[in-house]
């Protein structure tokens, strides 16, 4: 459903993505791992149309989206849970779940609040006043109400308490059940290995390794070399 073909992306003067190729099939959870600064977030930004690549193509649902405006890409069905949550400080929880709502798919206001019951009691609160964990649920919720076919999650567990990480995991599981594809950028190896079907490892702007979670768990050399573990 998503096909990234040899993309080269620059961020200002720096040459960040140096030929990335990646395939994602429907319903798959792909974990994208790698050290800080290897280009994981830039890859997400390229897919989302925020930093289009200079060369290469990105195809989503058989449409070339390489240079499509970001909002159109989103409307085609790619959602984002951005790094650091980045909720809208001047919107209430309720407004978050309304403003990006789209389509008649599985996810609507009620379903999302069922999935993340914590949000229900905070409907009228401004998002800036929520705890970090609640903000993360909200960031996931506002992406879900758009009913994306592919959800890009950029370090969703960053700074979360263990209980909130578990709740987030439940969210990912129920997305998987309904066939939503997920591109999961993670630093927490255990979390990624638990939910991913496939693992891609990036280093210096390229994808250098592809394997299953089980293979990576057993491969101490790869972990040491690319993840510093």
């Amino acid at each position: 459903m998503l096909s990234v073909r040899d993309i080269h992306t620059y961020y200002g003067d720096s040459y960040v993505l140096q030929g990335v190729t990646l395939e994602l099939v429907p319903g798959q959870v792909v974990a994208l791992l790698g050290r800080n600064g290897v280009g994981k977030t830039t890859l997400a930004r390229s897919i989302l149309g925020l930093t289009p690549p200079k060369r290469g193509t990105i195809v989503f649902k058989d449409v070339d989206i390489t240079r499509m405006p970001a909002h159109k890409i989103a409307q085609m069905g790619i959602g984002l849970v951005p790094q650091g949550r980045q909720v809208f400080g001047s919107l209430t929880v309720k407004e978050h779940l309304q403003v990006t709502a789209r389509g008649r798919g599985r996810w609507n206001f009620d379903r999302v609040t069922e999935l993340f019951p914590n949000l229900r009691s905070r409907m009228r609160s401004l998002a800036g006043k929520l705890s970090g964990g609640e903000q993360q649920m909200l960031a996931a919720g506002r992406a879900l109400v758009a009913n994306p076919a592919l959800l890009v999650m950029d370090e969703p567990t960053e700074g979360l308490a263990p209980m909130m990480v578990r709740e987030l995991g439940r969210g990912i599981e129920s997305l998987k059940q309904v066939g939503t594809s997920i591109l999961l950028i993670e630093q927490q190896l255990a979390f990624a290995l638990r939910y991913a079907d496939v693992v891609f490892i990036m280093s210096k702007g390229r994808i250098v390794h592809r394997c299953t979670p089980a293979e990576l768990a057993a491969d101490a050399q790869t972990k040491a070399r690319y993840l510093g573990i």
Binding site: L48, A70, L80, Q86, F88, L91, T100, R102
Partner: protein, 284 residues
């Protein structure tokens, strides 16, 4: 007592006109980070179109609508074809909008000449009403009521509608808003058009009080900036209270210290800047 009330009402009604101007200035800055120096032109051109329409049709309502909608179109064209190229580039934007201010100013001079025009009051409000012990022109009362109605409408638009929530989301984080499917560039055009519309509305409605004359564009732009500096850029509440404050300061300043005219507006502005650099209702 009557003197104070009359002067206060004069200041408040002028403040409402400034609010119409500053609301757009502030909304545009809040969303697009564009300091629109052409806003004075929107006011003046709206006024001129209003005068022309009222002369040919005799209808004040038609004049107001024509002036406001025509300038809204001018605003959309400016945003779509010029400003858009310089998104988030402050200096090119300042130069561009400054250039348009001069072009429109000269254009108005070519079309309407250099004599001041007066906009007749609408017949409905062309009289005075008795307020306690004095008579007061009903047109100015109408402007106060109208300004409050516009403020209420804008507040509802911003806080109570989905488009308003989209605008606030884009102000908070433009990139994430786009990545979540909000058409931010369409919002830019809408907000710019709305700002231009409001400024032109101020120009037409201010016609009977302030007059429509060459140089009004620069005069109101200056006051508009004082309003948003006092109130805080990007804040609707700031535009309203800033507008009222500047209207009152300007009016009482002219009454008591006519020789110090602008000083009575700028001195408080400087004080507020020193005390609260982002204005009374500004963020950050």
């Amino acid at each position: 007592m009557a003197f104070w009330l009359i002067q206060a009402l004069n200041g408040i009604s002028f403040g409402m006109l400034l609010f119409l101007l500053a609301a757009g200035l502030s909304l545009i800055y809040g969303l697009m980070k564009v300091l629109n120096l052409t806003h004075g032109s929107f006011y003046l051109l709206g006024g001129y179109i209003g005068v022309a329409v009222v002369r040919t049709t005799g209808s004040f309502v038609l004049a107001t609508l024509a002036g406001a909608f025509a300038i809204a179109v001018v605003g959309v064209v400016m945003e779509r074809f010029f400003l858009r190229r310089f998104h988030l580039q402050e200096l090119p934007q300042a130069l561009l909008t400054f250039g348009f201010l001069f072009i429109f100013s000269d254009l108005a001079m070519v079309i309407w000449g250099s004599d001041p025009e007066t906009m007749p009051k609408p017949a409905l409000f062309d009289h005075s009403v008795q307020l306690g012990g004095f008579y007061y022109p009903s047109y100015r009362l109408f402007i106060i009521a109208f300004g409050l109605a516009v403020a209420a409408f804008l507040w509802w638009l911003q806080e109570g509608t989905r488009v308003g929530a989209m605008v606030r989301a884009s102000v908070d984080n433009e990139e994430v808003a786009r990545a979540l499917g909000i058409n931010v560039s369409l919002l830019f055009s809408l907000v710019f058009a709305l700002g231009a519309f409001l400024a032109a509305l101020g120009g037409v409605m201010g016609g009977p009080i302030v007059g429509v004359y060459p140089g009004a564009d620069f005069d109101v732009l200056l006051l508009g900036f004082v309003v948003v500096i006092i109130g805080g850029l990007g804040s609707l509440k700031g535009a309203l209270f800033g507008g009222l404050a500047v209207g009152l300061l300007d009016n009482f300043g002219k009454v008591f210290f006519p020789e110090l005219a602008l000083f009575t507006v700028f001195a408080p502005m400087a004080l507020i800047l020193a005390w609260r650099p982002s204005g009374l209702f500004g963020h950050e």
